[in-house]
Subunit: 398 residues, 2 copies
């Protein structure tokens, strides 16, 4: 009897996901009491939230219950959106206001709402490989095509010519993510400006708006005092999706937003469509979490911790001989696998207690992603296991 | 230049919604300092959350930050799902387990995920008029058709024959909501059994599963010691969507779940598809809210407060002469408008400071919905305004 289960949803829920499989493997192992498990599978901050987070929750509990726990407007509390807009103006210039913001349940909620709102079935969305695997889902769920375009070799910077070649009359959007998950690359400002100029030219040529969707959950996770270009400053039709998951270490609390700068064509219609999408997908930020964001908007990211963690793992692996990309931002290490079959390499690493994520989920082969937002002991303790893995292979086989 | 805005999203975000329009009207008026505004537009509990809610938040803050604020599995923490399953077994029998539950961001998240997971574009979902307006959005967003079927006159009970006549080879699902928003009706157990028998027969005839989606946010809001039939006990392919918004008075915190009983055909595939849909729509319940649910799962609904509120408004309006349906559950009063044009009547009521919701959003004409989950002073204070409105019309004009 036909059960009517949607094939795509089933695939998303039951199909292969390297990240989720490794996460579940790790959870099972830990529950069984296994030791010497080094889990680098998921980007779950292993750093305490700043004290402001719990303090803001305690403050919120002083509010009358019906004010604190009742419905807010779908777009979020005005004072919270004002606090965010003020912070953005101070840091990036521009004329951002509360009316340009829609609070969402994390960056995922922001991305899925925006893609739902601004695409029609059959349109194409360009992503840059290696890319965050959930993009493909957020795109296909709205019956659009996910078009992967390779970044530049070694630097993993956007290849503007390659993106231009991939643009067709069906292109509606390009997604960029800087600092990048999984490579740790920060996109170069001039390359972003070139990308913007090209998108402006192609939009005019095709007589349609091609949006730039800037997914920025790692915006505050930047090392060595480097600057991270403000993407919305390089192209007028940029929409920004942000998350406090990483900067405030509250990934489980689902706090994010969409920013639609006033420069975006038909700004008010775009906001209305995103609000409409948000009703459908129901990615409204919970009331108490809105209060947290309102109080913590300017809290600095824990860069001391991440810098220390990056040093431990990057230097440890490079010393053994692994080809690892030096991350300028985010908290992922992108490593060339010792053999070309990244799934086989993941399985072999697993035998040594190392849970890595094979790169095919990210749209390319031959690499592994390590999330190094883990305990320092894991980062220090894993190195002998990586040495054994290296010795097993005798170094790179390709 | 084509901006690519999705027409449906734009309509959902900017189009007419009687509930939202009235809510915004009321907000503006209150901000302008207007007095004697009686806002019955939105179902936002005006009752304090039970003390367990804030206590559970305080308890949660004692957890290590990375445990409390980190990602949980998408389906939710195991101990929370176990607590819910135990509560369900104790109250309704059955063999419900943690594996049958997916935690979601409110009942809306549960509904949109389930409809996404179990329908294909072009299929039909039957709703019973008057129905909760968001159903239409959740259905149309997944490119399905919303098929309204009238309930029985006066009682607002499901009309099983009418539902059967509306079933076609494209029917995938019937949504029921008891206690009902907006009528306050509790569906009769025998009628639900008849509905289940008919759905079983039609499923066999059409060789496809027709799901019964039971939306139960008001399950605990039942008056006069009446019992509320357990819908999942009347039909094996029932999927339950629940929210703690009303029972715990935490509408803003987005806490709900989907229950897929083991009797549902291809149970594990259905769960996987709902988890897949949940990744797409991102209605994952925030971590701290999961802890609240885990501790408060058995907290009783504030029935004393709602019984008092129901008495104030129902008796007050009936005494004036309004035709109002006596609610057996939920916290809405369904009132026949004094003139057949419900929009015109809403506007006239507004002149007296009364914010009601016209029934056309609910799929029928000639009625108004009042949410009486408001302050007692509003319920007592509004009666002179209702009397003036009555006098204005000189009673019913139709």
């Amino acid at each position: 009897m036909a059960d009517g289960i949607d094939a795509l949803c089933y695939e998303f829920g039951a199909g292969k996901s390297a990240i989720r499989e490794q996460f579940e493997r790790a959870t099972k192992l830990k529950e069984s009491g296994a030791e010497n498990i080094y889990d680098f599978s998921i980007g779950n901050p292993y750093v305490d939230a700043p004290p402001e987070v719990n303090e803001s929750i305690v403050h919120a509990l002083e509010l009358p219950s019906v004010d604190l726990h009742g419905y807010t407007a779908n777009r979020g509390l005005t004072y919270v959106r004002e606090a965010i807009a003020t912070d953005l103006r101070q840091r990036f210039g521009g004329n951002y206001s509360a009316d340009d913001l829609v609070l969402t349940a994390g960056a995922s909620g922001a991305l899925t709402s925006t893609i739902c709102a601004l695409t029609s079935p059959g349109e194409e969305v360009i992503v840059l490989t290696p890319y965050y695997p959930e993009y493909r889902m957020f795109i296909q769920a709205w019956h659009c095509k996910c078009i992967p375009v390779a970044t530049q070799p070694t630097t993993f910077q956007p290849d503007v010519d390659a993106i231009e070649r991939a643009i067709t009359p069906c292109t509606r959007m390009v997604i960029v993510n800087s600092p990048n998950n999984p490579t740790g690359a920060i996109y170069d400002e001039q390359i972003l400006r070139d990308l913007g100029a090209m998108l402006r030219r192609k939009s005019a040529e095709l007589d349609k708006t091609i949006y730039l969707l800037s997914d920025e959950p790692y915006r505050e996770i930047v090392y060595d005092g480097r600057s991270n270009p403000w993407v919305a400053g390089t192209y007028s039709d940029t929409i920004v999706c942000y998350s406090y998951s990483k900067s405030l270490s509250i990934a489980g609390e689902r706090a994010g937003y969409v920013l639609v700068p006033r420069s975006v064509i038909n700004h008010d219609r775009v906001i209305d469509a995103i609000l409409g999408a948000q009703r459908v997908v129901n990615t409204i930020m919970p009331s108490i979490i809105q209060r947290v964001v309102g109080e913590c908007v300017g809290a600095p990211a824990p860069m001391d911790a991440y810098t220390r963690k990056r040093g431990l793992i990057y230097e440890g692996l490079a010393r053994i001989g692994y080809e690892v990309v030096h991350p300028d931002g985010a908290f992922y290490l992108w490593m060339r696998a010792l053999e070309p079959d990244e799934d086989a390499f993941s399985d072999r690493a697993f035998e040594h207690g190392l849970l890595l994520v094979a790169s095919n989920d990210f749209g390319i082969g031959g690499y592994e992603r390590l999330s190094y937002c883990v305990a320092d002991e894991t980062l220090a303790g894993c190195l002998p296991a990586f040495q054994e893995l290296w010795d097993d292979y005798g170094g790179y086989t390709w």
